[in-house]
Amino acid sequence: MAEELKVIVFKLGEEEYGVEVENVRTIERMMPLTRVPKTPKFVKGVINLRGVVVPVIDLRERFGLAPSEPTNNTRLIIVAVGNIEVGLIVDSANDVVDLDADKIADPPEVVGGIKAKYLRGVARIGDERLLVMLNLQEVLNKNEIIQLEAIEE
């Protein structure tokens, strides 16, 4: 019996992505950001999430995609991996699907220019939809944070 996954689906451009629901704390509308100087460009700043200061990264910029202006659909997906809590800016988030873990195929070499290491795989939902599963560990990679720290030195 394959592992059942509940996945939050969000959009970046025309692509649909998924993160496992247990990594997701909450989904918020866009809120005022405070810029943090001398951090990588994809770190958009910090927000006040009900009294807790949470850093926010722009997934588009993280993946090297063309930036876009926030719209009414823009959402912040607050994810937690280990002891790291981060908000991800996505174009929209409006679906939850159930997946069999074994339906996730290995990531193709290049998906929309995103490095394969950020991706856990691709899942097919129904006939048409392709869902790109994120590898959150890599997206919030320690090494990348170390690089990030190196920038400041």
Partner: protein, 670 residues
């Protein structure tokens, strides 16, 4: 309410009582004849006994019971306090503390306290080393009865039985004392009833008595018959049988007045009078804080919820301004006032008096002074000064170290003090007080002072300073050497110091709490260590400034002054901008430029708002666009993802709900 909740209540109260016991014992040591203090100690022990028994901690209960027996004799003036009794009682307190600690850690509070119990029982019998010389002479005075036993004996008299006090001594050369005692008990039990024996039957069975044991006994036989029967047993040296009537029984049995509250307390009216004459004083001695314990995390949650409320408040205020209805505006204003008050209370919830740390010091100093053979008085002032809980938790160890240091290295041995023309007893002052946004804790003693030359010599030997530097160093510089790592001036390694843990550890700890420590010393007069601590780690006073459209907070502690810098005052030295400040030229940094703030005012401005910040002796002028004002801010971290950000030590949430970054001036000054 479940057992767990009772347990935490028990633990809190037990700790309070132990603290009261410790304090009172120390007090009593100074004034051993003050029966009021004994009363206070007795009461604490008694309450503790009752509590422990109720909670099922038998070992705790029985140890306190033995203490109570001894204390009872003391307060009824049947026994005088002496060094041995003090030591034993202190040992008992330590054992009790260990048991309570065990319970806190989830244990059962069981401990092997047989040795202490034996000592207590020996005292109870009058076998203390001081009075042990003549154990037999004190006759019947060391035997007390509790209320129950007393009434049993009285009733026996009323029903025509005879009550005896029998004291039996076995011969010195007796081989099996317990066996002889058993035979005596056997004889007695077949002819009557033993109400109480000293020591207890169990102890007698285990041969835990010297040579004498005694019993309260009810029988129909005559004195002579009893005596004959007992003397008939071999290896019995002597046997005194005293017949008791009501009057004698009253004299003998010191009924515990407190237990018999409401009942006739005849027989020790005199002592009651003493106790009642200073009831308030006694009550103060067993002062118990009325507090509840709250998980810090819950307080944090409360604080976070509060931040949200503040955001809503700002929103409501702007809505009310739009809607312009008088009653709405009034309500919102009222809400604003209340929430401000509430915020203050929430912040204060984290504040704890330093007393929670200080209260263990008197005992520590006493024990330490004893082991070092020094005489010292510890004077504590300002124990009600409040500090943030997180600081309190951390500050204990450094203070212990400084106090030990003061006693071990500072205070001289009594003989040396006399030679130096000082009183034999040294004094250590432990002071805590508020000053501005800081709490100061001072440890000052009137000891020998720091030997500047010796410190320098050690530092030179260890290569901490060079010969040239040494010549130029001021006294303060020299004293700061004490905090260098690996530095110790102790010539011989004692129990207390010289274990490789030096003042450097103390300094690191204090610095990590955002505080600092300084030393003042005068040779032959004494030394003062002064520890400066922030009031709290989570709330700081800060100056809010704007650079471009962004708001930043600068901790007030690193701000020297704010002023205005005219553009023409700015000088260029080797390509860097500098400015005059108090007769020296210091670097100038434009905050908006440093942080690349969008929308910052350009450099065409003719004058700038400026803040002079410092790190030690180094200064920097920081140009900002606007000074918003001073504010208390709640410190928040940026989270684990952004662990180290250049020149940012954290963030805070402003009244409008937005996040402002807190500038770390130390990073700007290089």
């Amino acid at each position: 309410m479940g057992q767990d909740q009772y347990l935490s209540m028990f633990i809190d109260e037990a700790k309070d009582h132990l603290q009261a016991l410790n304090e009172n014992m120390l007090e009593l040591e100074k004034r051993p004849d003050d029966l009021d203090i004994v009363q206070g100690i007795f009461r604490s022990a008694h309450t503790l006994k009752g509590m422990s028994a109720t909670m099922g901690f038998e070992d705790l209960a029985s140890l306190t019971h033995e203490m109570e027996n001894v204390l009872d004799q003391v307060r009824n003036q049947k026994c005088k306090m002496n060094g041995f009794i003090f030591d034993t009682l202190f040992k008992s307190l330590d054992a009790l503390e260990a048991m309570v600690q065990d319970i806190v850690a989830g244990g059962t509070g069981k401990a092997d306290v047989q040795e202490i119990v034996s000592s207590l029982q020996a005292i109870f019998r009058g076998d203390t080393p001081v009075s042990a010389a003549e154990p037999g002479k004190e006759a019947n005075s060391d035997m007390s009865l509790d209320q129950y036993q007393y009434s049993v004996l009285q009733q026996s008299l009323d029903t025509g039985h005879k009550v005896f006090f029998i004291r039996v001594a076995v011969r010195d050369d007796c081989v099996l004392k317990a066996a002889r005692a058993y035979m005596v008990f056997n004889v007695l039990e077949t002819n009557g009833e033993i109400v109480k024996s000293f020591p207890t039957v169990e102890d007698i069975e285990q041969e835990k008595f010297e040579k004498i044991f005694s019993v309260y006994y009810i029988s129909k036989l005559s004195e002579e018959a009893l005596q004959r029967m007992i003397m008939h047993i071999s290896e019995i040296e002597s046997c005194e049988v005293a017949s008791l009537d009501h009057e004698k029984l009253k004299q003998l049995a010191s009924v515990k007045a407190e237990q018999a509250a409401g009942q006739s307390a005849s027989g020790n009216d005199g002592h009651r009078g003493v106790a009642d004459s200073h009831p308030n004083q006694a009550r103060q001695n067993v002062h118990v804080n009325r507090t509840i314990r709250v998980d810090i995390e819950r307080l944090d949650t409360l604080m976070n919820l509060f931040s949200e409320l503040l955001i809503d408040r700002v929103r409501m205020e702007s809505l009310a301004a739009e809607i312009r209805r008088n009653d709405l505006t009034e309500t919102v204003e009222h809400m604003a006032r209340i929430s401000t008050d509430l915020q203050n209370i929430v912040l204060k919830l984290r504040m704890v008096p330093v007393d929670t740390v200080f209260n263990r010091f008197p005992r520590m100093i006493r024990d330490l002074a004893k082991s070092l053979d020094k005489k010292v008085e510890l004077v504590i002032t300002g124990a009600d000064t409040e500090l943030d809980r997180t600081v309190i938790d951390e500050i204990g160890d450094p203070l212990v170290h400084l106090l030990r240091n003061a006693l071990d290295h500072g205070i001289e041995a009594p003989a040396d003090r006399m030679k130096a023309g000082k009183p034999e007893t040294g004094t250590i002052y432990l002071r805590a007080f508020h000053s501005g946004n800081h709490v100061f804790i001072e440890i000052e003693e009137d000891g020998r002072g720091i030997n500047r030359d010796k410190v320098l010599k050690t530092a030179l030997k260890k290569g901490i300073v060079t010969q040239e530097d040494a010549k130029k160093m001021s006294d303060d510089d020299v004293y700061q050497l004490l905090f260098a790592s690996g530095f110790s001036t102790a010539e011989k390694i004692s129990d207390i110091s010289g274990r490789g843990v030096g003042l450097d550890v103390v300094k690191n700890k204090i610095t990590s709490l955002g505080g600092s420590v300084t030393v003042e010393s005068q040779a032959g007069k004494g030394t003062k260590f002064s520890v400066q601590l922030p009031l709290t780690l989570s709330i700081i006073s800060a100056m809010l400034v704007k650079a471009g459209a962004e708001t930043f907070a600068i901790p007030l502690t690193s701000i020297v002054e704010t002023n205005i810098v005219q553009t023409e005052q700015i000088k260029i030295v080797q390509g860097r901008r500098m400015v005059d400040f108090r007769d020296s030229i210091i670097p100038l940094v434009q905050l908006a430029e440093l942080f690349e703030c969008p929308g910052a005012a350009n450099e065409e401005k003719s004058e700038w708002e400026a803040i002079v910040i410092r790190k030690g002796e180094k200064y920097v002028t920081l140009l900002v666009d606007t000074l918003v004002g001073q504010q208390e801010i709640v410190l928040k971290t940026l989270g684990n993802y952004l662990k180290k950000v250049f020149a940012v030590s954290g963030a805070t949430i402003l009244g409008d709900g937005r996040v402002a970054l807190i500038i770390d001036p130390n990073a700007i000054i290089k």
